[in-house]
Symmetry: C2
Subunit: 220 residues, 2 copies
DNA sequence: AAAATAATTCAATTTTCATTTACTTAACCG
DNA sequence: CGGTTAAGTAAATGAAAATTGAATTATTTT
């Protein structure tokens, strides 16, 4: 019934690790550019340079592949947080550095925001299954909290700053123009993805965070 | 060949305007909750309480329906901007009001951010076709610019503030926790959609924008 | 009131796409 | 080496979903 596979078939050298890796890479960029529903399994296979069947061989389903991509992305951001070493810097520098590296991370790691967006569109269907997510938050927020406390002790920072609110703000200010680049560009008739615009924005964001934490002369 | 339609069929009262409206409403919420690829035409029809064929009758295709939904959403935000009347308020109040109403708008108009997110995921494929988009930006930015100029003239605001950067920041701070509610909640182990969290955030955002525009004692 | 128009329905048709079946063969293991 | 395992391939399957065909009838027009 089925045509015998002729010897003319181009043969792929066997290498499970490489194949798995290529699939994950391809999945990452496909899910990033098209979201979960928009991404096509065959397209991912093609980009990985392998047969679509292999995706099922190694990842079982589109959903699992997506979850794997999600995990990968969160490992990266976690690694970045570990490298920050906020505790070794004077408070003002620590906050500046946190802001700048966050801003730069989103700019260079385009997949993070894109996949995150897709996951939020899905209503967070898969995020809970990502092991990396569990152990992230608290230690990192504690580090920020330490910086804020130090800064206030020195009289440089204002009192009662909330580390979570502050960090969410840093992320928001650094991410929104990337997340919404197309609609923003269309709305304001400028190219917010352009190099100059982004440099301009970077300065604005850094200054904004600085002024949010800096103590003001007593306004009594 | 085809079975004659029996008289037992429940008959829908004919009313093109109502039907069109219901379809658009349904489309809005379907596209908002599932994005373009995730939304299903039959589901939209069902929610609109009509036959799926009517969607093609009135809107020609899924893509056109999506574009119509996009237009609708942008009309709303445009209308809101017109109602702000920033010019009648003292500068500090104007900025505060702009911040608060932006924040509140996103919270109550959940469809706007959701559809915007979908459109950005699609790489801005349709936004250019939306007529409402063309005439938005500049007049509104001019109004903000006026407020900033007035504020600086009074000595209340700092010099050289960029209206576009400021407005993008207001939007970013007001939108990010909604756009990314699921991943943020998972990451930080708290419910950023909860009422208290949002109220807390609102205060934080307002204060942040205030401190960004307020003039500081000369740091010479 | 007859004819024309267009709103509406049901059931195809067609497309797209995730997933599977059935097979082939390279690489490893004794 | 011979045999087993698992990596890989091509093509089919089947379900979901977009789109269309063709008939029906409410409403409007003349």
């Amino acid at each position: 019934m089925r045509k015998s596979l002729s010897s003319a078939t181009p043969v792929r050298t066997r290498d499970p690790e490489r194949t798995k890796g290529q699939i994950l890479e391809a999945a990452l960029s496909e899910f990033a550019s098209n979201g979960f529903d928009g991404a096509k399994v065959h397209q991912i296979a093609q980009r990985a340079g392998c047969n679509a069947r292999l995706i099922y061989h190694y990842f079982e389903s589109k959903e699992r592949l997506y979850t794997a991509a999600l995990s990968r992305i969160y490992s990266e951001i976690r690694a970045r947080e570990d490298e920050l070493h906020l505790d070794t810097l004077p408070p003002e520098h620590a906050i500046k550095r946190l802001t700048e590296t966050t801003f730069d991370f989103f700019e260079s790691n385009t997949a993070f925001l894109a996949i995150t967006r897709s996951e939020n569109l899905l209503g967070g269907r898969f995020i809970a299954q990502v092991p990396e997510i569990q152990k992230m938050s608290t230690p990192f927020l504690d580090k920020i909290s330490d910086v804020l406390t130090r800064g206030h002790a020195e009289g440089a920072f204002r009192e009662g700053l909330d580390p979570l609110q502050l960090y969410v703000s840093i992320v928001a200010l650094s991410a929104h123009h990337i997340n919404a680049s197309h609609t923003l560009s269309a709305t304001f008739g400028c190219d917010v993805s352009g190099k100059e615009w982004r440099q301009h924005r970077r300065r604005h964001v850094v200054e904004m965070i600085r002024s949010a934490v800096t103590a003001v002369e007593s306004t009594l």
